[in-house]
């Protein structure tokens, strides 16, 4: 098990299976089809992201450097949370970008109920993204500590 310390963007404690994107997550391209056509698994629809394309994002601890793409990104994340199709958590190796920050903050401020919560931690460092692999177990603590271990 390895522990990484980040900054809390949206607080929460959760454990989930890791899903890793080494490139920036294009939020609109990744979520649009899932939100549009009622896909509860939130299957990633971004053909330009080989790490995530076709994989379930809902309920996973999504590990990534940053988000990219359209400035609708924040409101798309907000919608994913509102519909209960969000990742279990978002874990950024870099300091968070303005689009993901908007989505994380809007969801945390405006949405109520456990089904819409999404803890977000940023600034976990490059080593975090080098270490974490799809399927690893992730535990996120309230203070921004992220525990990563091999699958059981």
């Amino acid at each position: 098990m390895k522990t990484f310390q980040g900054r809390v963007v949206a607080p929460g404690r959760v454990s989930a299976e890791a899903l890793v994107s080494h490139n920036g997550l294009n939020t609109l391209a990744s979520f649009q089809k899932a939100l549009q056509f009622g896909d509860k698994k939130a299957t990633c629809g971004d053909q330009n992201n080989p790490d995530l394309y076709g994989k379930q994002m809902a309920g996973k601890a999504l590990c990534l450097p940053q988000t990219i793409g359209s400035t609708t990104g924040g409101l798309v994340l907000y919608c994913a949370c509102s519909m209960g199709r969000q990742p279990a958590a978002m874990l950024f190796s870099n300091p968070i970008d303005s689009l993901a920050a908007a989505g994380a903050v809007l969801a945390d401020v405006w949405l109520e109920g456990a089904q819409s919560k999404m803890p977000v931690v940023d600034s976990l460092g490059d080593e975090f993204l080098d270490y974490v692999k799809d399927g690893m177990n992730i535990i996120i603590q309230e203070d921004g500590k992220v525990l990563v271990s091999d699958p059981f």
Binding site: T72, L75, C79, S82, S98, L99, A101, G103, V105, W110
Partner: protein, 432 residues
């Protein structure tokens, strides 16, 4: 909760609920958003109008429309009138029966309701749907130093760079919340330090670089940093005339979409570069040299995601971001000349030129409008991105000279000359 952002008594009172729970949440959203980027204070928005990125009644964005309803119910419309990005539908643009069904019944089924919501919130006019709100014909053109709460990436980079206004690369909804409350957090591109250049970009090409290709190269290299571009004034002059502004519109949109640039300086041309010169460059700035070979490399590395890479194009989109009046006139001349050369009467690929409704109205009053119509080119106010962003359209072989459209959709990029050749000479342009 304690925040590092310094709040005035009025702002703190709003945060604590003096104007109701909804406005308290709006203030909390903006303060927490600013905190993440080290904002020092909340500063008043000083532009006359706002501009919103969300122009589409997309079924998938239901929760956003519910949030907007909450603002309206709380008696909290936008404090400023606003323009908004282009509409996603226009019957003038060719589409199949299946596309029409998908567009109207599935994707944009909330369009009519959403447009009503925008009107209630403070939409400037029925014509206010464009990504190029800063065109003279539209009239949402902020002045030097004005503070904005915009989020459309191509408009933000234009307002910061060409007009000298100050705006961060915000997300949709944050843009509206700023003008509801009247303040935005001060950080990043709102500060003098945040407007300094991290990169020196030296242009050493043998001819005028294609705006959308140069912007793409710089965007992919510097990502969200600020570039200071040296040597471009040799090709586009030292005056912000119509031609230079049009060039910078397309150049900037490519830097913002292929990277995440919110501000660039052009040595000897853009207002802050003209005023402060190389003092804008940070100590230790990195250097990126762009010559013909570098542009060639960037062009050749664009992936072609068409299933059949040799498919004949079924549609051509020009105008992402929307074209200027002068661009429409220039392209009328170019298309006519191309058709005269080939002997063809009309364009061989269905072609759509997109521009702001106000620009199209101005264009319609010129003799160019009938001439362009005679070539077979269609004009529209649509957002090409919204047209392309669905499973049916993404299977179509669509060509464009917009590097923004290339980045976000399956559309294939060609230079302006190659596009002209394809639509007027019925020849496949570009490289193999």
């Amino acid at each position: 909760m304690d925040y590092k952002v310094k709040l005035t008594d009025e702002q703190r009172a709003i945060l604590e609920g003096s104007k109701g729970e909804t406005l308290a949440k709006v203030m909390e959203s903006l303060v927490r958003y600013g905190e993440l980027f080290g904002a020092t204070e909340m500063v008043p928005i000083s532009s006359k109008f706002n501009h919103l990125v969300t122009s589409f009644g997309l079924k998938a964005l239901g929760p956003v429309y519910e949030l907007m309803d909450k603002l309206l119910e709380a008696g909290a419309p936008s404090g400023q009138k606003f323009t908004v990005d282009p509409k996603p539908l226009d019957k003038n643009v060719p589409s199949s029966f299946a596309q029409d069904v998908v567009f109207k019944l599935f994707m944009y089924s909330r369009q009519k309701d959403y447009e009503k919501q925008l009107a209630d919130l403070g939409l400037l006019s029925d014509n206010a749907f464009t990504c190029t709100c800063y065109m003279d014909e539209v009239g949402n053109k902020p002045g030097f130093g004005e503070i904005l709460s915009w989020s459309e990436s191509s408009a933000v980079v234009y307002a910061n760079s060409v007009l000298g206004a100050r705006c961060n690369r915000n997300s949709g909804i944050i843009d509206l919340m700023g003008s509801v409350i009247g303040y935005v957090p001060k950080f990043g591109l709102l500060t003098d330090e945040g407007r300094k250049a991290d990169w020196i970009v030296e242009i050493k090409t043998s001819k005028k670089p294609e705006a959308q290709l140069l912007g793409s190269a710089i965007g992919m290299k510097v990502m969200e940093d600020v570039p200071y571009v040296i040597g471009l004034d040799k090709w586009i002059g030292n005056e912000l005339d119509d031609e230079a502004c049009t060039y910078l519109k397309d150049f900037g949109a490519a830097t913002a979409s292929n990277g995440a640039v919110g501000l660039y300086h052009i040595d000897g041309l853009t207002p802050e570069a003209a005023k402060y010169g190389k003092d804008l460059i940070k100590e230790g700035a990195k250097t990126y040299v762009i010559d013909d070979a570098e542009l060639e490399r960037v062009y050749n590395e664009y992936p072609v995601i068409w299933k059949d890479k040799d498919a004949a194009p079924k549609l051509c989109f020009m105008g992402c971001p929307h074209m200027s009046l002068q661009q429409l006139k220039d392209w009328t001349d170019k298309v006519e000349a191309g058709l005269a050369k080939s002997g063809a009467g009309k364009v061989s690929v269905p072609t759509v030129f997109t521009a702001a409704p106000d620009v199209l109205e101005a264009f319609a009053k010129t003799p160019y409008a009938d001439r362009l119509k005679a070539t077979g080119v269609i004009t529209s106010y649509i957002c090409p991105l919204m047209y392309m962003n669905n499973p049916l359209s993404e299977k179509m072989p669509v060509i464009t000279s917009s590097n923004k459209l290339r980045t976000y959709t399956s559309a294939r990029y060609y230079t302006d000359d190659e596009i002209l050749e394809q639509i007027t000479q019925n020849r496949k342009g570009g490289r193999a």
